[in-house]
């Protein structure tokens, strides 16, 4: 099914692009709000309560959106001292196991977070102190991020199943050369 494979690739790239935009503007948003807050405090002697609040929303958003993105980039921190010494066939089996079980865990966390966010938080009707935003809306980042990460790990599993070599993610091979130094 070449069509299905191309579609998967196109969707993967579109989601990745969207995640990149979210991360970049999330960071720029936090920086702008925090800088604005410093000026407000030092010039007008009053802190912008809403600025701090939106920054907190954005950091939750960046954390969970970035969770999926970091999987697609193969960038989550791992302790690979033992893994790296293993022969390729072992690493391949290990990567298949890691991808499948981690995917399962991410989907379990998706389930738990839907339970918590749509169940508990929405039922309580908690709102943020300054802007009165319902917190369950903000916390939707969590199920979103966990499910995206779960899908990414599942795709990593299938990639390793069908393709040669060991793959850290859907389109990142397990090798050191691809690490761009400026990105650390």
């Amino acid at each position: 099914m070449p069509g299905a494979r191309e579609t998967t690739g196109a969707i993967f790239r579109a989601v990745t692009k969207l995640e990149e935009v979210c991360l970049a503007w999330g960071m720029i948003g936090i920086a702008s709000l925090t800088i604005a807050n410093v000026f407000a405090r030092s010039l007008f002697d009053s802190s912008l309560a809403f600025a701090e609040e939106i920054s907190q929303f954005l950091i939750v958003f960046v954390t969970f959106v970035g969770l999926g993105y970091a999987v697609s980039q193969g960038r989550h921190i791992r302790m690979t001292a033992i893994y790296d010494q293993l022969p390729t066939s072992w690493r391949k089996s290990l990567m298949l196991t890691i991808a499948l079980t981690t995917s399962a865990m991410m989907f379990y966390l998706t389930y738990l977070s839907i339970d918590y966010v749509l169940g508990t938080v929405r039922a309580l009707g908690t709102v943020s102190p300054a802007l009165q935003v319902p917190l369950w809306l903000v916390y939707l980042s969590a199920p979103l991020g966990f499910s995206l990460a779960g899908i990414q790990y599942l795709m990593t599993f299938f990639k390793n199943l069908v393709a040669d070599d060991v793959w850290l993610s859907f389109d990142k091979k397990d090798e050191y050369d691809e690490l761009p130094p400026a990105d650390i």
Binding site: I59, A70, R78, Y116
Partner: protein, 429 residues
């Protein structure tokens, strides 16, 4: 229960799972298997809550500022200035590297960023001058640890948030121990150079030096903003971080015209990715911490297993804390170690009347040492990835540095004034 959790965590860790998985899996297993009254969804609540403290916003801001400086000219200008002033002395090149790591530590809060920013340009020069690969790599990894002690410091921000200690005071207290380690490393660099019989670089002329200093003048404004601003009580650490970002932007986009605004968006994406990788560990660490405190493991561990109490005495408590954090960081990321171990050990130290700022400084030093220590210190893996060297080559030169760092820990614990002198000067009693 403790054994099952710990066993599961270590197993997944050694198999090479992403570090968030062992933590989260252990937390889930504990709740499902051993805590019948608890709702597993509480773990999600802890994770979301864990990344929200507003003091933590300083972390991505400092990463952002350092990213901008590294892509722009500021980092290069600083390295150039240092090498023109001290390059000609015996051991000038390795001493330049150590001083540059310290100075870059004043721009950035993480050891990994320092390994890249200083090691990238200086490592080829050191090798060319005739220094051995193992010495060079070990020097860069270990000197980068100084960055964790020199403000801003991501480790100190996380410690401050978890323990409720003033991050500003921690920042100022880190300067003394950071400089102490720098001195030890410079002495060693001198001795190693004499032993390897490597000639010094040609001396730069004074006009060259003046020019280099002028070029580095604006980047030197960073430590003034961060340390000076906090010292003078003008900024909180988060505010200093935000002002650093603004300053980095003005410098690289406005003054040097090295970066265009479009590139800033790409740097922001890279910062966002690094932030997410760190913060997902913060989230998982928060969930894990909640589980162990719910199960009252800390008091069991401290009281029954280690036999530690407020009456144990200063030396015993500090030594136990130092060893625990050091060993922890030999295996996992420093942020994770600080998140999990701080709630366990901090209360004992405070109950014994030990200054929390001193405890935080010792902890930061230990996590810095641990992350450069074989077998699994995470800086070693950064170096393997960045310099593309095999594991054994990277760790071969580390023992002398680790000995010096342990000596620095002993000095710090025996003479707390090393850290507290500047703090007391800045914040009074």
């Amino acid at each position: 229960m403790a054994l099952v959790i710990l066993g599961l965590m270590l197993l997944l860790l050694f198999l090479g799972y992403p570090m968030k998985v062992p933590l989260t899996a252990a937390a889930i297993a504990a709740v499902v298997l051993f805590m019948p009254g608890a709702d597993p969804a509480t773990l999600v609540q802890q994770m979301i809550g864990g990344v929200q403290p507003s003091a933590l916003i300083a972390v991505p801001m400092f990463i952002f500022a350092a990213d901008i400086m590294t892509r722009g000219q500021a980092a290069d200008r600083l390295l150039d200035m240092v090498s023109r002033f001290i390059g000609h002395v015996r051991g000038g090149l390795p001493i330049t590297s150590a001083v540059s790591c310290t100075l870059f530590g004043a721009l950035s809060g993480s050891t990994q960023a320092t390994v890249v920013a200083v090691g990238g340009p200086l490592r080829p020069k050191l090798l060319e001058a005739g220094y051995s690969d193992s010495f060079t790599t070990a020097l860069i990894i270990n000197a980068s640890d100084i960055a964790l002690l020199i403000p801003p410091s991501i480790g100190m921000i996380v410690y401050g948030v978890v323990s409720g200690t003033s991050i500003g005071e921690l920042f100022i207290a880190g300067i003394g121990p950071g400089l102490l380690i720098l001195v030890l490393f410079c002495v060693y660099a001198y001795v190693a150079t004499v032993r390897m019989k490597i000639a010094p670089l040609p001396k730069a002329t004074w006009p060259e030096r003046r020019r280099a200093l002028r070029r580095a003048l604006l980047p030197l404004g960073f430590p003034v903003i961060v340390i000076g601003g906090i010292y003078a009580g003008m900024f909180s650490p988060t505010e200093a971080a935000a002002v650093s970002v603004l300053y980095a932007l003005l410098l690289e986009v406005g003054v040097y015209r090295e970066l265009r605004l479009g590139q800033i968006v790409d740097i922001a994406r890279s910062t966002g990715l690094v932030t997410a990788v760190v913060f997902i560990l913060v989230a998982a660490g928060a969930a894990f911490s909640w589980v162990i405190s719910y199960a009252q493991l800390p008091s069991q561990l401290i009281g029954d297993t280690l036999g530690l109490g407020p009456d144990s005495g200063y030396a015993t408590i500090m030594a136990t804390i130092a060893i625990a954090f050091f060993i922890g960081c030999m295996f996992v990321d420093p942020i994770v170690v600080i998140l999990i171990l701080t709630p366990i050990f901090h209360p004992v130290a405070v109950a014994a009347g030990i200054d929390p700022v001193l405890v935080g400084t010792v902890v930061t030093l230990q996590v810095a040492i641990g992350s450069a220590t074989p077998p699994f210190g995470c800086d070693i893996f950064t170096a393997i990835a960045v310099f593309k060297r095999p594991y054994l080559d990277v760790i071969r030169g580390t023992p002398p540095f680790i000995l010096m760092l342990i000596a620095a820990s002993v000095i710090l614990i025996a003479f707390p004034e090393v850290a507290l002198f500047l703090r007391d000067l800045a914040f009074g009693d």
